[in-house]
């Protein structure tokens, strides 16, 4: 298993943290992308066709896509390779995003959640989320070669 099910605390932390986003998961996804494009300009090379201005409709839409995928992952923590299999194929064969970029987006997701949900973002929750994003990244790059 990519994320050990023995870590029940981890699982609860992750689900609770994601639930804390309320109905705003899509907005958080978009904000994370915006943060990533500004802080790590090289990540923009994967989106040459995007309007990168603040409030861009494309970033909003893509942010929601990312958030929905993460919500799916949260609901399948025991079973991520299967649940994310199609996305894994997509990243391996079509998108081919260099693995280093998953760390950059993961960091910006953490920053976004930390800024909106500081009370819930304890060191323990921070750890669980960091592990979760790392595990998702591993799954998404697992079929690269």
């Amino acid at each position: 298993k990519v994320l050990s099910a023995a870590h029940k605390n981890n699982i609860n932390n992750i689900k609770a943290a994601w639930k804390a986003t309320g109905g705003h998961a899509g907005e958080r996804g978009a904000e994370a992308l915006e943060r990533m494009f500004l802080s790590f300009p090289t990540t923009k090379t994967y989106f040459p066709h995007f309007d990168m201005s603040h409030g861009s409709a494309q970033i909003k839409t893509h942010g929601k896509k990312v958030a929905d995928a993460l919500s799916n992952a949260v609901n399948h923590l025991d079973d991520m390779p299967t649940a994310l299999s199609a996305l894994s194929d997509l990243h391996a064969h079509k998108l081919r995003v260099d693995p280093v970029n998953f760390k950059l987006l993961s960091h910006c997701l953490l920053v976004t959640l930390a800024s909106h949900h500081s009370a819930e973002f304890t060191p323990v929750v921070h750890t669980s989320l960091d592990k979760f994003f790392a595990a998702v990244s591993t799954v998404l790059t697992s079929k690269y070669r």
Partner: protein
């Protein structure tokens, strides 16, 4: 060499002015040790690091965190010459402390996350971008004298 625009400098200074260095330093180092437990390898003599609450409450962690963040204040004062400002510390981290520079990146990112928890919405994407430049510049400067 990293170059900061006048706006980035002003953003960084404005945030730094509101940071409680003692508190934030302890929090940053504590979170580094909690989130990335392998970093504890440098702190065998720090006493009880057995749980997240032990780590966050550990007085040696707090004291050392304050030291580290105070030193980071030098970066804020020397944004145009980070390599020069951190030359001695770079030698120290290589020759005496034997710290893998990867750890500077980890700590820098933890610091950014802490700023996000403290400043909330005020820590906008633009503000974050300026700070990512700074922490990255410091990490590079601290690694510069490695051999």
């Amino acid at each position: 060499m990293v170059h900061f625009t006048a706006e980035e400098k002003s953003t960084i200074l404005s945030v730094w002015g509101k940071v409680n260095v003692e508190e934030a330093g302890g929090e940053a180092l504590g979170r580094l040790l909690v989130v990335y437990p392998w970093t504890q390898r440098f702190f065998d003599n720090f006493g009880n690091l057995s749980s997240p609450s032990a780590i966050m409450g550990n007085p040696k962690v707090k004291a050392h965190g304050k030291k580290v963040l105070t030193s980071f204040g030098e970066a804020v004062k020397n944004m145009d010459n980070l390599k020069g400002a951190f030359a001695k510390l770079s030698e120290l981290h290589c020759d005496k402390l034997h710290v893998d520079p990867e750890n500077f990146k980890l700590l820098g990112n933890v610091m950014v996350i802490i700023l996000a928890t403290h400043f909330g919405k005020e820590f906008t994407p633009d503000v974050q971008a300026a700070w990512q430049k700074l922490v990255s510049g410091v990490a590079t400067a601290l690694a510069h004298k490695y051999h």
